[in-house]
C-alpha cells in the first residue's frame, strides 16, 4: 500500500447571516494518495470542524451536488484527486448559503423560465414517436448534462458580460435539436447572452460529463446565421 500523504486544505468559511467577510481556515488531513477532495472535506467535517457547511449526494460524479472550486478551478469534489495544498472555495458567481454551499434557487428558476420540455403544436399522442436514431443518440448525449454549474463558474464571459452561462445554452440546444419542439430556442439563447460567448472552450475542458457547451453554442450560432431552423410539428 502506498504511503499516506498529508494534505493542507484552506477552506473558505462564511456564514452570511453572521459574518460580513469570508475567512480562510487551514486544516491538515492525512490519508491515501488517491483520496478525493470530498474525502478531505468529510474528514475535516468529522474530525476538525463539525460546523463546516458542504454538500454531496451520489459520490460518483453523477449528481453535481459537490461542485467546488479547488485552487481556482471548478471541479466535482468527489472526482478530483486531493492536492498537497488546496484552497477550496464555493462555486462562484453564485450566492453562498454557508461555507461551501451555494444557493441554487436562481439556477433552478432560470431552468424553469426556459421551459425545457418540448412545446408542441399538437398534443402528445400518448404513444412512442419515431425519431432518427442518430438524432436520438445526439439528444441523449446532450441530455447527460447534470447541471452542476461547473461550466458557468469557469466561464470568463459570465464574469465579464451579460451571459447566463454555457449550461443553459446546452439545454437550449437540446431543445433546439428536438424534432417535436416548436419554440424558437435561438431567440431564447440570444436573450440569455449566447452572442457574448468567447468561444474559448473552457466549459468543454471542465465539463465532468464530457459535453461541449461551446460546440452547442457554435451550432446554434451557425443555425442562426444560415437560418437553419427546421419546420417542426
Amino acid at each position: 500500500m502506498a504511503d499516506n500523504i498529508k494534505v493542507v486544505a484552506e477552506i473558505r468559511r462564511q456564514n452570511p447571516d453572521a459574518d460580513n467577510i469570508a475567512r480562510y481556515e487551514r486544516y491538515e488531513v492525512t490519508g491515501m494518495p488517491t483520496m478525493r477532495v470530498l474525502d478531505v472535506i468529510r474528514s475535516i467535517y468529522e474530525n476538525q470542524a463539525d460546523d463546516l457547511g458542504f454538500q454531496f449526494a451520489c459520490r460518483i460524479g453523477r449528481c453535481g451536488t459537490c461542485a467546488v472550486r479547488v485552487n481556482g478551478v471548478p471541479v466535482l469534489a468527489c472526482q478530483e484527486i486531493a492536492k498537497l495544498h488546496m484552497r477550496i472555495e464555493p462555486l462562484s458567481p453564485f450566492p453562498v448559503l454557508r461555507d461551501l454551499v451555494i444557493d441554487r434557487s436562481e439556477i433552478e428558476q432560470k431552468y424553469e423560465d426556459l421551459q425545457l420540455a418540448p412545446r408542441r403544436h399538437v398534443e402528445h399522442g400518448g404513444k412512442p414517436e419515431s425519431m432518427d436514431p442518430k438524432l436520438a443518440e445526439e439528444l441523449c448525449h446532450i441530455d447527460r448534462c447534470i447541471g452542476c454549474m461547473i461550466c458557468v463558474s469557469a466561464c470568463p464571459a459570465v464574469d465579464e458580460r451579460s451571459f447566463d452561462g454555457p449550461a443553459f445554452m446546452l439545454s437550449l440546444q437540446h431543445m433546439n435539436m428536438h424534432p417535436h419542439d416548436t419554440a424558437n430556442r435561438l431567440v431564447q439563447a440570444i436573450d440569455g447572452g449566447m452572442m457574448e460567448c468567447f468561444g474559448c472552450d473552457i466549459c468543454t475542458q471542465v465539463c465532468p460529463t464530457d459535453l461541449s457547451p461551446a460546440q452547442a453554442i457554435r451550432d446554434m450560432r451557425a443555425d442562426l446565421l444560415f437560418s437553419r431552423r427546421k419546420a417542426k410539428g
Binding site: 472526482q79 468561444g199 474559448c200 472552450d201 464530457d210 461541449s212 461551446a214 460546440q215 444560415f226
Partner: protein, 126 residues
C-alpha cells in the same frame, strides 16, 4: 461519437492549465500589441515625415529606431499571425466548423512562432 464529445481527465482537473484561458488571453494581448505598434508607427512616421517636426526628431533620435528593433518585429509578426489565425478559428466555428480546442491552440501558436522565428533569423543574417 458526437462532435460534442472531447476527452478529458476528470480526476486532476485543478492541476491542468485551462487551455481556453491561455488562448483567450493570448488573443487579447496580441490585439493590444498590434494596436500599440500601429500607434507608435503612426507617431514615428509623422515625426519623420512632417518637416515642421524636425526639431522633435532631432531631440528624440531613438524614436525612429524603436520601431525597427528586430525583437519588436518578431513580437509583432507573432501577434499578427496569432490574432488573425485565432480570429479565423473563432469565425469558422460560428460557421459550423468544429475544432479541437487544444490542438488548434498549439497549431496556431506554432505557425505564429514560425513567423516570429523567421524575423529573428533574418536579422541574425541568415
Amino acid at each position: 461519437m458526437s462532435k460534442l464529445t472531447l476527452p478529458r481527465n476528470s480526476t486532476r482537473q485543478a492541476e491542468t492549465w485551462l487551455i481556453g484561458d491561455i488562448s483567450r488571453v493570448l488573443h487579447r494581448i496580441s490585439g493590444v500589441v498590434i494596436i500599440l505598434f500601429v500607434l507608435v508607427h503612426v507617431v514615428v512616421q509623422s515625426v519623420v515625415q512632417v518637416p515642421q517636426w524636425e526639431s522633435t526628431r532631432q531631440a528624440m533620435p531613438w524614436l525612429h529606431a524603436l520601431q525597427n528593433q528586430n525583437w519588436v518585429h518578431a513580437v509583432l509578426y507573432f501577434s499578427i499571425a496569432f490574432h488573425s489565425l485565432y480570429g479565423l478559428r473563432l469565425l469558422l466555428g460560428d460557421l459550423g466548423f468544429s475544432f479541437d480546442y487544444r490542438r488548434s491552440l498549439w497549431v496556431i501558436s506554432g505557425v505564429s512562432a514560425v513567423f516570429a522565428m523567421r524575423e529573428l533569423v533574418r536579422y541574425a543574417g541568415f
